[in-house]
């Protein structure tokens, strides 16, 4: 580990609330350790803004371990910044160069309205889940867990899909602001498991219908979502979603 310090220029989107229009503000910042995480760098800026009597930059974050899915910065034109496979909170300043200008924006999508500065409203994802992202089993109804063997390959593949953290980077990366990768990951997780079979058709139809109602765009297979997903959710999930959707639509007529 070799710690260095950086001097940077930050261009950050500032917006008071949902109703007002935002704009970029520029902040020079110096003495940033390359060992800091990106959010710790913003903490340093905020501490300075507070000392100067200005309003700190509002941003979402919680776990700072890449798992809660709350952090959501669009950095130099890419969701979660330049490094592949990491969230903003796991991005470190060693990925940046001395003197660099870093542009920081919120996720941009009509289904994710900006609430303040870099904070957006992603409740549309919760509504998609409420429409069908579950297995209907009341507490107490379950049989012994090992009475239902599941092949390791299916279990592992289901787990890979279930690793989605619901951050919304896929939407932010997509020129159509489509939520297909997010929805596909959940549909795949359950489609691969025997427990998911009874509601397999209704689930996909309901989740897709809700997704459309929330105003997400349609998928034109550009693959930008997969490229920017911090959890490596693959495009094959979308292919599966499409197959599930077609067969469910055919059988529901």
């Amino acid at each position: 580990m070799s710690e260095k310090t950086l001097n940077l220029t930050l261009k950050i989107w500032r917006q008071k609330n949902k109703e007002t229009r935002g704009s970029f503000e520029t902040y020079p910042i110096s003495g940033i350790s390359t060992d800091m995480s990106f959010l710790e760098m913003v903490d340093v800026l905020n501490e300075k803004l507070i000392t100067d009597g200005k309003e700190p930059v509002a941003f979402d974050h919680d776990c700072r371990e890449g798992i809660c899915g709350m952090c959501s910065m669009y950095i130099n034109g890419r969701p979660h910044g330049p490094k592949h496979g990491v969230t903003t909170c796991q991005l470190h300043m060693r990925s940046f160069k001395e003197g660099e200008t870093i542009v920081i924006e919120p996720w941009r999508a009509s289904a994710f309205p900006v609430l303040k500065d870099l904070v957006v409203d992603r409740s549309s994802f919760d509504r998609i889940m409420a429409a069908g992202g579950f297995i209907s089993v009341n507490t107490g109804n379950a049989q012994d867990a090992n009475s239902l063997p599941i092949g390791k390959d299916d279990a592992d593949e289901s787990f890979s899909s279930a690793a989605c953290i619901g951050c919304g980077a896929c939407v932010a990366a997509c020129k159509n602001a489509s939520a297909m990768l997010f929805v596909a990951a959940k549909v795949s997780q359950y489609a691969l498991l025997p427990q998911g079979q009874p509601e397999r058709s209704t689930r996909v139809l309901k989740m897709v219908a809700q997704m459309e109602q929330e105003g997400f765009g349609s998928c034109t297979n550009t693959g930008a979502c997969e490229a920017e997903c911090p959890k490596g959710i693959s495009l094959s999930n979308i292919a599966r979603l499409n197959r599930e959707y077609i067969s469910a639509s055919a059988s529901s007529k």
């Binding site: 710690e3 060992d35 776990c63 700072r64 889940m129 992202g133 507490t139 867990a145």
Partner: protein
């Protein structure tokens, strides 16, 4: 037991208490359930499982969380696994053994009846989670896989790579969303509870702040469940998420809920060491790594060589040396203190010298050899074996290794990890009886927010178990004991003077904070509090230090209320204001933690008082004078408290010195 504390433990033999209780507890009929409203604060494992189950049963439920979605509760970050007494590995596990390990692991400071119930329902949790689609790790035969955790000699931990909490929470969250879709649960995300509302001696609702608009809201409930997590962030640096806080529990404490064993804090042995002043949080490296990682320091002081350059015979595997029976899998409190001992004695590694090694090379070779044999590679060379071994380790812990590399810029497949203990979990919390009810009628506490099951030290993989046990399988029964008597109570209008008054008080506090207009940021105070707590009320405590800490915290509190600076306004999203409210409560709690630690003149579990240790440096427990739960009552005024004791009675376990040697 003191007059005011009634733990309501059912009569009868330990193994029959819960079964009998379930078949005799009063029920609420379906028509009445529809008219009963329950407020659940928190959407982690405890909150989500409780809310979805209660809604399935027919109650009207409201759920609150401060994150933007229920799915982001801190439970999401749990890594290693969840315990259950399934005995799928046929290695001698049983309900009794899980019960015994938990009581012993907690250093004989937990309540027998609660812990036995926890062990009894543990198996159902796995069944329920699998049924709701949680993709646990499996063997090739399709059955569930297990691994070991500290403080046990059986394999009873179920896991989903290093993301067990995520998968369990998403399971509970999806059940919750199902109820939201059905209209039986109303979800209030980005809302923070600021107070409870008591009417005629019963809890009847909460005051919450909409964190987007800044507006205060009043919500009525026939009962209120606090599932608000732990308070490790009182130390500023911890493995907890940034927003984890004590506010809900503390506000309830100030309105009559006793606080149990506040000083019982868990310092986790394997975390990535602090790298500098900028540090905002610490990252855990799951305990599951101790299955395959061996902990050591160089035998020589101040050894300048790199870890992988130090030959085997010059390494001190100090846990294996001191505790041959459990080795690297001793409980957390023991492992943490042993690491501190090595570093304090000058054997630490890394630039700060406040770290020890966690080394996978032995097991990489062992796994590699097994794989080579499986694949019929009889003459595999060392490089091939290591390559095969790394693949096995990658499958088991890949995401943790990636995270380590991301943070430290070092590759743990090549060099040993550097680790050091960090604040992780709080065994203390709101005192609850067998029904999980606090000392305020109608107010319950579930999950990490209560004090109940882990005594003075929690075993790994037992918090997820407890959160889901409380929510899925305990509260759905025990709440009936209370609500069956409330069926004739109509929803109380939130225009009731108690609601109006509580809202006014909450508004006053916020106004006061905004009007201080001092010179120092909230974080400034939080960091100072954390430093006091870590130094005086952390891994080792003593009477002199604790007294100093109490005085320092009082002074800090006075300074905070004079000099904190909060930009922005009240009626908008204001993250500094949110933090300020939380830090104000942490400061008051910190004082109580020190008072509690000072009161407990013994060492037990995570509470190590330097005055009370054996010659070998092990904890010296005092069962004659301290086999009790310290339940503190807030007496108002300038943060004054009164101690009540719940004596712990061990009828089924012989209370003994805890040994892992």
């Amino acid at each position: 037991m003191s007059q005011v504390l009634d733990s309501k433990i059912p009569e009868g033999a330990l193994a029959e208490k819960w079964t009998k209780y379930k078949s005799s507890v009063a029920l609420v009929n379906p028509a009445n359930k529809r008219n009963l409203e329950i407020i659940v604060v928190g959407s982690g494992l405890a909150g989500s499982s409780a809310a979805s189950t209660l809604a399935e049963m027919g109650y009207k439920v409201k759920v609150f969380c401060f994150q933007d979605s229920a799915r982001r509760a801190h439970s999401i970050a749990a890594q290693g696994g969840i315990n259950a007494a399934k005995n799928y590995q046929n290695d001698g596990d049983s309900v009794y053994r899980l019960f015994y390990d938990t009581i012993k692991g907690g250093d004989y400071r937990a309540r027998e009846a609660n812990v036995h119930r926890l062990a009894e329902v543990s198996g159902n949790i796995i069944d329920q989670s699998v049924a709701s689609g949680v993709p646990f790790a499996r063997e090739y035969g399709g059955l569930l896989s297990n691994r070991s955790f500290g403080g046990t000699q059986v394999q009873r931990t179920f896991y989903a790579a290093g993301q067990t909490g995520q998968q369990l929470l998403l399971g509970a969250y999806s059940s919750l969303q199902r109820q939201v879709g059905m209209g039986t649960v109303k979800m209030y995300a980005r809302h923070e509870m600021l107070d409870i509302v008591n009417i005629d001696g019963k809890c009847r609702g909460i005051i919450a702040r909409d964190l987007v608009t800044g507006k205060l809201e009043r919500h009525f409930g026939h009962a209120v469940l606090l599932c608000t997590g732990g308070y490790g962030n009182v130390f500023y640096l911890s493995t907890n998420a940034m927003g984890s806080n004590v506010t809900a529990a503390w506000k309830a404490h100030k309105k009559g809920a006793f606080f149990g064993n506040p000083c019982f804090t868990q310092i986790h042995p394997t975390c990535i060491p602090v790298s500098g002043d900028h540090q905002s949080k610490l990252t855990l490296m799951s305990e599951s790594l101790r299955n395959d990682g061996r902990i050591w320091t160089p035998k020589a002081k101040d050894d300048k060589r790199k870890g992988n350059e130090i030959p085997e015979e010059e390494r001190d595997y100090y846990l294996e040396r001191r505790y041959p029976a459990f080795g690297n899998l001793v409980p957390r409190d023991v492992a943490s203190r042993a690491a501190k001992e090595r570093c304090d004695a000058g054997y630490g590694v890394g630039t700060s010298k406040m770290a020890v090694y966690l080394d996978f090379s032995t097991n990489i070779k062992r796994y590699g050899t097994v794989e080579a044999t499986k694949n019929n590679l009889t003459n595999a060379d060392e490089a091939t074996i290591i390559k095969l071994g790394k693949e096995v380790v990658k499958e088991k812990y890949g995401n943790l290794f990636d995270m380590y590399k991301q943070i430290t810029d070092e590759n743990p497949y090549e060099v040993p990890m550097r680790i050091y203990p960090a604040v992780h979990y709080t065994m203390g919390g709101l005192w609850v009886d067998y029904n999980l009810m606090t000392t305020v009628p109608g107010l319950y506490a579930l999950g990490e927010a209560n004090f109940s099951d882990h005594g003075a030290n929690r075993l790994g993989a037992s918090a997820l178990m407890q959160g889901l046990a409380d929510g899925y399988f305990v509260i759905p029964y025990t709440i009936g004991a209370y609500l069956s008597k409330e069926i004739s109570v109509k929803a109380i209008s939130t225009e009731h003077e108690a609601f109006v008054e509580a809202e006014q008080k909450a508004a006053e506090v916020l106004n006061t904070l905004m009007n201080i207009k001092g010179t120092k940021s909230v974080d400034h105070f939080h960091k100072r509090l954390g430093k006091i707590m870590w130094e005086q009320c952390g891994m080792a405590r003593n009477a002199i230090g604790l007294k100093e800490a109490i005085a320092e915290i009082r002074a800090l509190r006075a300074e905070f209320w004079k000099d904190v600076k909060i930009p922005g306004t009240l009626n908008e999203m204001n993250l500094e204001l949110e933090k300020a409210g939380r830090v104000a409560d942490f400061i008051e709690l910190g004082e109580l933690m020190c008072i509690d630690a000072l009161n407990r003149n013994e060492s037990c579990g995570g509470h190590f008082r330097e005055e009370y240790q054996t010659e070998e440096g092990e904890a010296n427990r005092d069962d004659v004078n301290y086999a009790y739960v310290a339940a503190w009552e807030h007496k108002g005024g300038d943060n004054t408290f009164e101690l009540h004791k719940e004596n712990l009675v061990y009828e089924n376990i012989k209370i003994a010195a805890r040994s892992y040697k």
